[in-house]
Symmetry: C2
Subunit: 147 residues, 2 copies
């Protein structure tokens, strides 16, 4: 049976393919374990006509609060800043089969110095089709979220 880690990569590859099939340019970072990724690469970078979106991908079995290591959030924000792009956490809840996208600006810092994405935010997250519409500029983010 594949490990959780291997399953995570497989879901990530599927997401990359879905994004590519929508007409975007998209690239996945090398599998982690490589030092390079730990220091600077986001999991996925998608580009549509000069609009850049950087993504940290997470796979979970059922909806729950997600904790992220500082380097995972910081590399995402740093990469997005350099690229003048937007950053998102993409969460696949395996049970539902859906990807949910949450702006990285909504991630909260914990007392312990980690970051967390509260379970409630997953419910308010953006689904794949809406996410694509936002990136392609067909719809605005404000049509989907309150903030």
């Amino acid at each position: 049976m594949p490990s959780n880690r291997a399953r995570g990569f497989s879901h990530e590859r599927d997401l990359v393919r879905k994004i590519w099939d929508q007409g975007l340019a998209v690239i996945r970072a090398p599998a982690s374990g490589s030092k390079a990724k730990k220091t600077m690469y986001p999991d996925i970078v998608a580009i549509y006509k000069g609009k850049v979106v950087v993504i940290e991908a997470k796979t979970i079995k059922r909806a729950k609060t997600i904790y992220l290591e500082p380097y995972q959030v910081e590399k995402l924000l740093e990469f997005a800043k350099r690229a003048s792009g937007e950053s998102y956490i993409a969460v696949k809840v395996v049970g539902t089969g859906e990807w949910i996208f949450v702006s990285a600006s909504k991630v909260e810092r914990t007392h312990g110095g980690k970051y967390r994405l509260p379970k409630e935010l997953l419910r308010e997250g953006i689904k794949f089709d809406a996410f694509m519409s936002i990136i392609k500029g067909v719809r605005k983010l404000s049509e989907y979220t309150d903030t």
Copy 2:
């Protein structure tokens, strides 16, 4: 002793680090052998404030005409088109220790259906510092090339 392939990856990682150190966002594709790369990923994607540059990297021992497989050129052009970016072949001539950048638009199609980058073009290629200046918008490409 490392294989040519391993040496190529090592040079590619060094290039990624040099580009990152210049303040750009940059991501390297997973090592080839993965099917995904064969179908769509360029070797390197560098982004500076929304300006996207996609790169196919080659390492050669001494200056010579380089032959590229159709998929290597086509994935580069397709990715650049989707991203509204520019595409380059980056060539490291190991003997000189330098990276030379040549616009992918200069690559020629051979009778056999492959693509080639004539040796003469390497001499006219752009060096690393000039390439960075062009991407950052400090200097124009026309200052470095005739066409």
